[in-house]
Symmetry: C3
Amino acid sequence: VKMIIAVVHDHDAADLLEALTTEGFQATKMASTGGFLREGNTTFMIGSDEEHIDKVIEIIRENCKSRKKTVAPMSPVANSLEGYYSFPMEVEIGGATIFIINVEKFIKV
Amino acid sequence: VKMIIAVVHDHDAADLLEALTTEGFQATKMASTGGFLREGNTTFMIGSDEEHIDKVIEIIRENCKSRKKTVAPMSPVANSLEGYYSFPMEVEIGGATIFIINVEKFIKV
Amino acid sequence: VKMIIAVVHDHDAADLLEALTTEGFQATKMASTGGFLREGNTTFMIGSDEEHIDKVIEIIRENCKSRKKTVAPMSPVANSLEGYYSFPMEVEIGGATIFIINVEKFIKV
Ligand SMILES: Nc1ncnc2c1ncn2[C@@H]1O[C@@H]2COP(=O)(O)O[C@H]3[C@@H](O)[C@H](n4cnc5c(N)ncnc54)O[C@@H]3COP(=O)(O)O[C@H]2[C@H]1O
Ligand SMILES: Nc1ncnc2c1ncn2[C@@H]1O[C@@H]2COP(=O)(O)O[C@H]3[C@@H](O)[C@H](n4cnc5c(N)ncnc54)O[C@@H]3COP(=O)(O)O[C@H]2[C@H]1O
Ligand SMILES: Nc1ncnc2c1ncn2[C@@H]1O[C@@H]2COP(=O)(O)O[C@H]3[C@@H](O)[C@H](n4cnc5c(N)ncnc54)O[C@@H]3COP(=O)(O)O[C@H]2[C@H]1O
C-alpha cells in the first residue's frame, strides 16, 4: 500500500473527491494553507494499492487545473515578503503537488 | 521511529487522546473529512518507537468502535453520487483506518 | 525528495513560513492540536531535496523557540488526566517536533 498526499486548489477539491469515490478509491481530506500565497488549499490523503497508483494520479490530473494569480503590491503577502520579491507578481499555481510515500502496514480495525 | 496515521470517528477522538496520553504516548490530531460520507472525522499522527507500535494499535482498537450509518436519498452525498450508487444505503464505518510509515529521522529542537 | 513534517507552536508559525519562503523553500501548513495540552499548534509539511534537508532543519531551529507552560489544577486538561498526573504541573513545550519521511515519487501536475 502507498499513501498519496496531494495538495490541490480548493476549487478542484469537490470534483476530485467525487471522481475518486465513483472510481472506488477511498480518501481523506484536510484543510491546509499554501506557504507562499497564504491562501487556503486542500490536502488529500489517499491510501491505495501499488497497482492503482497510476489510476489515482490520472484522476488527479483530470480534475485539478493550474491557475494564474496576480499578487498585488500592498497585499499581506507582498508586505511580508517585501524586499525579497517585487510586486505585482504573476504566480502560476499548479494543478496538484503529489507525494507518494510507502506504507509499511495498513490496518483497518 | 514510525509514524502511525490513524483516521478515526470524531466521537472516539477524545477517548483515544486520553488513553494515549495516560499510557505516555505523544500524539497530534487534525480535523479531517471522509471522502465518501463527506462528514468530519479526526486524523491522528503518533510518532512512536518500533517496539511500542503494537501497544498503540491495541489502544486504538480499544477506543475506536465501528458504527453503521444510513445515507438517505436526496442527501448531499446521495445527490452527488446519483447514478453510481442506489440510496438509501447502509454504510459501516470502521473503528479506525491505520497507516504505519517509516520515519528516517526524528528530531526535537 | 524527503517530506519534513514539523509540529511547531502557533506563535512561531508565521516567522517560520516567512523564513522558509524567502529561502526559496515551498511548504504547506495545517492547523493541529497537541495531544497533551489539547492546545492548537501548527503542522508544517515541507517537501525538499535531500541535500537541502539540513538547511530546512536549521531554519526551523532558528525560528521555533521552546516555551514553558503551567497547567493549572481544575483546568480541562487537569480534570481529564486527574489521577495520572498531579497539578499544577510545569510543562516545557519544545521548539519543534520533526519527522523526516522518504518520498518515493514527487509529481507536479
Ligand atoms: N518562493 C516562491 N517564489 C515564487 N513563486 C512561488 C514561490 N513559492 C511558491 N510559488 C508559487 O506560488 C504557488 C502557490 O504556492 P503556495 O505555497 O501558496 O501553495 C503550494 C503549497 O501549499 C503546496 N506545495 C508545493 N510545493 C510544495 C513542497 N515542496 N512542499 C510542501 N508543499 C508544497 O502546493 C501549493 C501549490 O504549489 P505550486 O508549486 O503549484 O504553485 C506555487 C508556485 O508556483
Ligand atoms: N484507503 C484510504 N485512504 C484514505 N482515507 C481512508 C481510506 N480508507 C478509509 N479512509 C478514511 O477512513 C474513514 C472511514 O473509513 P471506513 O472504510 O472505515 O468506512 C467507510 C466505508 O465503509 C464506506 N465507504 C467508503 N467508500 C465507499 C464506496 N465507494 N462505496 C461504499 N461504501 C464506501 O464509508 C465509510 C466512510 O468513509 P469516508 O470516506 O467517509 O471516511 C473514511 C476515510 O476518511
Ligand atoms: N511523538 C510525537 N508524535 C506526535 N506528535 C508529537 C510527538 N511529540 C510531540 N508531538 C507534538 O508536538 C507538540 C510539542 O511537543 P513537546 O514534546 O515539545 O512538548 C510536550 C511535552 O513536553 C509535554 N508532554 C507531552 N506529553 C506529556 C506527558 N504524558 N507527560 C508530561 N508531559 C508531557 O507537553 C508538551 C506539549 O505536548 P502536546 O501533546 O500538547 O503537543 C505536542 C504534540 O502536538
